[in-house]
Amino acid sequence: MTAKPGHNSFDPAESRKRCMGYRKRILDISQNVSALHAAGAFSCMELTDTCYYGLMRPDGQDTFLMSKGHGCMAQYVILEDRGVLDRKHLDAYCTPHGILGAHPDYGNPGIEASTGSLGHGMAMAVGMAVAERNKAGGSPDAGAVYCVLSDGEVQEGSTWEAFMMASTLGLTNLVALIDNNDFQSLGRTSETHPSFYPLDEKLKAFGWETTVVNGHDAEAVYNAVASRNGGKPFCLIGRTTKGKGVSYMENVPIWHYRSPNPEEYKQALAELKEIAS
């Protein structure tokens, strides 16, 4: 059975507002530290927001797993907004008196798994989905697992091992969302590794139901997942832009890690606006 999302009233306009605020909050935090993965977080902002505010049921039975650990700022600011993390936690990001680092650490509030090394999240998500299914004893209400992956980590063989097992095990309570920004440290994936594509056909061949949407269009993301056929694990491939929302960060590899200087920060704030679908 396929777990249905819990928010029938997911409001894309509210999501756009939230995501603009989250990007601003991430830029604010960036001014306290020499480096944070802003561009990777901006890339998966809408995917992550849609999971928390649209897809996951409000009573806590569903799980969010940030497999692309370097995107965790997107998760942190949402967890702060939802009261799971405190403001003081984010203000102390990457400092000895805080608890949050540049990758999610299991045991911190709201963090379901430690990630950061790429290619680990998908198999853990498979294990979680099996556990939820077994705990529910076959009930369609089994907890669902939403796993956000980078496209880079889909190059890991371990991710494909897990993809194969997810469909083999018939995990209908598993949703993967691939943040397909087509960028990695050494350039554009479509140029450096053209045979990485087509991605959706590879996943289909591995027994998944897939769809490709604009990953910055929360409404499209929500609708694609909510209206899936079911009966298989589902993978949403979100076409995204690394650094989305700040012109000088978009598709420029150095912003994978670098923090903006005060001048760049000002420019970024001036540019931020709601991202129209």
Binding site: H120, A123, M124, G127, V130, A131, N134, S158, E161
Partner: protein
């Protein structure tokens, strides 16, 4: 030992829905087959995909299950090493990584199938415990403990294949996690070992007993956390201590026993016998490969009698 483990796990699984077994394309012999038939939703065969095996176990444990990853030692520990370290060690999850055929047991299969440095590798991971039973009695007790413990992180569970003799006798100490265990107690010489090669250690102990010595035979089934106090006590109470270990010279029981001996200024003679720091290109019985590494009852006796 392999069958004992499966039988115990099968028995416990009836009343404990947390138990899951995740195997990597290894034949479900004996009770493992019964587990698979009776609890198909809790038996996962990932195929030849060991990284997924460990990651899936981590995910199961993150949701409250007690998973056992189960395959040949080189493939349960070495191939998915980073998953063992990050997913299990870093997250401190109660997953048991079963390594079948630790050491050089797969004696006709060559170096690709020898886990001869597994204790050093697993032991270097924070939060990781290591258990290596010497006989079916220890395998039974350890398996029960692995399922029933209230807390704790990952365990590397090294054992043999099949057909290991029972070395535990009526006077042997009970099995307790983290505690050195005397199979028999003497006052003069102590032979210290663990795992499948304890059979050879027992033969050494028998021969030295026949020589007229009062001989202890002790097993250090828990390699991590090591029973430092128990080993220190053993070093203090015997004039001569002989460590017999099926493991590389680095990072196993032998060098750690030497370290304890130094720390306590032990006065006993201390002989250590380990595998060589080498890949031996030789095929035959388990005993043949051990002999190629310089490990045989005769050689050990020749050294300690000299």
């Amino acid at each position: 030992m392999r069958n004992t483990f499966a039988e115990v796990l099968y028995g416990l699984a009836k009343d404990d829905p947390r138990i899951h077994i995740v195997v990597a394309d290894i034949s479900p012999a004996g009770s493992m087959g019964k587990f698979r038939e009776e609890f198909p939703e809790r038996f996962i065969n990932v195929g030849v995909a060991e990284q997924a095996m460990i990651g899936i176990c981590a995910g199961l444990a993150l949701k409250g299950m007690r998973p056992f990853a189960y395959t040949i030692a080189t493939f349960s520990l070495y191939r998915p090493f980073e998953m063992v370290r990050d997913d299990l060690g870093y997250q401190n999850l109660p997953v048991t990584v079963v390594g079948i055929g630790g050491g050089v047991i797969y004696s006709t299969l060559g170096g690709t199938h020898y886990a001869q440095e597994d204790i050093a590798i697993a032991g270097a991971i924070p939060n990781m415990s290591i258990i290596a039973p010497c006989d079916p009695v220890e395998a039974t007790e350890a398996t029960k403990w692995l399922v029933n413990r209230d807390s704790g992180g990952p365990v590397y569970f090294r054992f043999g294949k099949a057909g290991e003799p029972t070395l535990t006798g009526p006077d042997s100490d009970p099995w307790e996690f983290g505690k050195l265990r005397y199979l028999r107690k003497g006052e003069d010489v102590a032979v210290l070992s663990y795992g499948v090669i304890t059979k050879m250690a027992a033969e050494v102990a028998d021969a030295l007993t026949e020589d007229g010595h009062s001989v202890s035979l002790a097993v250090c089934h828990t390699l991590k956390p090591l029973d430092t106090d128990g080993i220190a006590d053993l070093l203090r109470r015997h004039k001569r201590v002989i460590v017999v270990e099926e493991h590389a010279p680095q990072g196993g029981l032998a060098p750690q026993t030497k370290q304890i001996a130094w720390d306590i200024r032990a006065e006993c003679d201390l002989h250590t016998f380990t595998l060589k720091d080498a890949f031996v290109h030789c095929y035959g019985s388990h005993e043949d490969i051990l002999a190629a590494h310089g490990l045989s009852t005769d050689r050990i006796l020749a050294v300690v009698r000299a």
